[in-house]
């Protein structure tokens, strides 16, 4: 690579453009962190300075343990709930997707294509077009305010099935034939030949699905009525409830910062998987 100054001289426009973009992207996050260190009274009077204040301790303690006064559970609770929800959704989706893709690629059976397209069709049925009907079903099963109700309706993945089907098709069949000759049955082949071979793809899929589950908003809003079942995004917005002048911005922002840490860490440390999964979905 060239020296700093030569790259800078040649590509100054790119540096300026990217730096500007980074400022715009980081600004709301930075201001949220600053806001979380001021007391809500100062913020409410419109006097917040653009630098850190003295009230971080009390804001974060209140956010972590009890949340804001007018609604929303403590962040502690929100993070536990969202972790359970996101993990269950991602793990469930990956498991069922692997099984489906395995059956569709390595077996021949009547109605195989019909079943494959049944799964594909769900991409046309986002929650938003069937929210009240799905809600009714969950409520009839008495699953409101439960993790089963939060997660079960999500454990189906069109993209995942499509992706893994492609990876399995690309897998060498000789590998499976060899295992068969060694006396391995279909489940044994799945477990000790197929899954190890596509482990990186599964990891990438898991990361994307985890973020997806973590960021759910409308569904938890519908099926949770008890504070102790709230999840991060909806819990955070609930903290803005009550009279606008009384919004405890310091606590709300501390909560926002705390709940953002998890997905931000995923993006920073699992970026390789994310980018890989993106590159695959498009194909």
């Amino acid at each position: 690579m060239d020296s700093w100054s030569r790259v800078l001289r040649r590509e100054w426009f790119a540096y300026v453009a990217l730096s500007l973009a980074v400022v715009v992207i980081v600004l709301p996050l930075f201001v949220a962190v600053v806001g979380s260190t001021h007391d809500s009274g100062t913020i409410g009077r419109g006097r917040m300075p653009l630098w850190f204040g003295q009230h971080a301790g009390e804001n974060y303690v209140q956010a972590w343990t009890m949340g804001a006064r007018y609604g929303g559970a403590g962040v502690q609770r929100l993070i536990v709930n969202s972790s359970i929800m996101a993990f269950t959704i991602a793990a469930g989706k990956v498991l069922l997707t692997v099984l489906t893709a395995y059956a569709v690629v390595f077996f021949r059976f009547p109605l195989r294509n019909f079943f494959f397209w049944t799964v594909m069709i769900t991409v046309m049925l986002p929650l938003e077009v069937r929210m009240f009907q799905t809600y009714k079903l969950v409520s009839d099963f008495r699953l409101l305010n439960s993790f089963a109700g939060l997660t079960l309706p999500w454990i189906v993945s069109t993209t995942g099935t499509l992706l893994l089907r492609q990876h399995l098709r690309a897998l060498s069949r000789d590998l499976l034939d060899a295992a068969k000759i060694d006396g391995a049955g279909p489940m044994r082949c799945l477990w000790s030949v197929v899954i190890p071979a596509i482990r990186p793809n599964i990891a990438a899929l898991f990361v994307i699905l985890f973020l997806y589950g973590w960021n759910q908003y409308l569904w938890p809003l519908l099926v949770t009525t008890r504070g102790d079942m709230e999840t991060v995004a909806m819990g955070l917005v609930k903290m803005l409830g009550g009279p606008e002048a009384a919004t405890e911005w310091g606590v709300v922002l501390a909560s926002a910062v705390l709940t953002i840490i998890v997905p931000v860490c995923v993006v920073i440390f699992m970026q390789r998987y994310l980018v890989q999964a993106f590159a695959e979905t498009e194909k």
């Binding site: 790259v7 790119a14 453009a17 990217l18 973009a21 980074v22 992207i25 709301p28 201001v31 949220a32 806001g35 913020i43 917040m48 069922l96 099984l99 489906t100 059956a103 077996f107 021949r108 059976f109 195989r112 079943f115 049944t118 799964v119 594909m120 069709i121 769900t122 991409v123 046309m124 938003e128 077009v129 069937r130 009240f132 009907q133 799905t134 079903l137 079960l152 309706p153 454990i155 189906v156 098709r169 499976l176 489940m187 759910q216 908003y217 409308l218 991060v232 995004a233 955070l236 917005v237 803005l240 922002l253 926002a256 709940t259 953002i260 997905p263 931000v264 980018v275 590159a279 498009e282």
Partner: protein
């Protein structure tokens, strides 16, 4: 090419797909069927009697000016978010594709909004732009702009578009960047040798090669605006003021949740369903083509 079966089991494949098929039927297909069915009926306010009314829920919907205003808002929102976020995403990706130092840091920072839920993004921006409180709102006040998105419909729509674009740039950026980086350098260098300037090289050589990515992103962004816009609008404006930010999904939610009119909201579900089916049909056609030639 049809591959041969590796295993000959008769029952096992059904057991393998059963969980996913059962969940799909129960949570996806059944509710969608119920919604279509409900859209043909009307219940009295107490929900005691239900009568078949044919397409009357639809004809009422299509003669309701509120529906058309909601359709217009949806269109403005979806087109603005899609065009702006794709254009900016492509621009930034082409900048980040250059041999810069610190490229990884730029990439990570620009990718951050992808990690956030739309509603959380809305909370962050609400803090910046809350009238009289937010730092940008205060700045706007200082330079003489009366900023209050709770009263001004145009400002409200501008705000929700701004928030959606801010969040969506990350997604477009990373897809375009991946496409650019997998592009053969020789193509670009050949164009350069033919004397094309860098702007011309980009629009006449690079951009056409990116067209599958552009098409994919086009559909993904429209679907995002149609549905994920809900979180932003619910957290910021609740569809207001006076319906200025009421996209179709939000109106459907309000009709079912607040007015408890399940039949009217079911008719809207079906209308939205038609939109999604059209969009995904387009996308699947494209997937097919890729499978053939790719």
């Amino acid at each position: 090419m049809e591959e041969r079966a590796v295993f000959k089991n008769k029952l096992l494949p059904y057991l393998l797909i059963a969980p996913q098929i059962i969940l799909t039927g129960l949570w996806f297909i059944y509710p969608a069927v119920v919604a279509s069915y409900q859209s043909l009926f009307r219940s009295d306010p107490l929900g005691i009697r239900t009568t078949f009314v044919g397409v009357q829920n639809y004809t009422r919907l299509f003669s309701d000016p509120r529906f058309f205003s909601s359709l217009r808002v949806t269109l403005v929102f979806a087109v603005s978010v899609t065009v702006l976020s794709m254009f900016i995403g492509l621009f930034l990706a082409s900048m980040a594709d250059k041999p810069l130092r610190g490229r990884k840091v730029y990439r990570t920072l620009l990718l951050l909004p992808y990690a956030l839920a739309p509603a959380v993004t809305a909370v962050l921006w609400r803090f910046l732009l809350a009238p009289r409180i937010g730092i940008i709102a205060r700045f706007l006040g200082d330079i003489g702009i009366r900023w209050d998105y709770r009263l001004d419909g145009v400002q409200a729509l501008f705000l929700v578009i701004l928030v959606a674009v801010w969040q969506r740039i990350a997604y477009n950026f990373i897809f375009y960047l991946a496409a650019l980086q997998s592009m053969p350098r020789s193509v670009i260098e050949a164009a350069r040798l033919d004397g094309a300037g860098s702007k011309r090289t980009f629009w006449s050589v690079v951009f056409p090669i990116l067209s599958p990515t552009t098409f994919f992103l086009l559909i993904m962004n429209i679907v995002y605006s149609l549905f994920e816009g809900f979180g932003i609008i619910h957290a910021l404006t609740q569809g207001g003021p006076a319906g200025a930010t009421e996209i179709l999904v939000y109106r459907l939610y309000v009709d079912g949740m607040i007015y408890q009119n399940i039949n009217r909201s079911a008719a809207q579900s079906v209308v939205l369903l038609v939109f999604v089916v059209l969009l995904t049909a387009l996308q699947f056609r494209w997937v097919d083509r890729r499978v053939h030639y790719g």
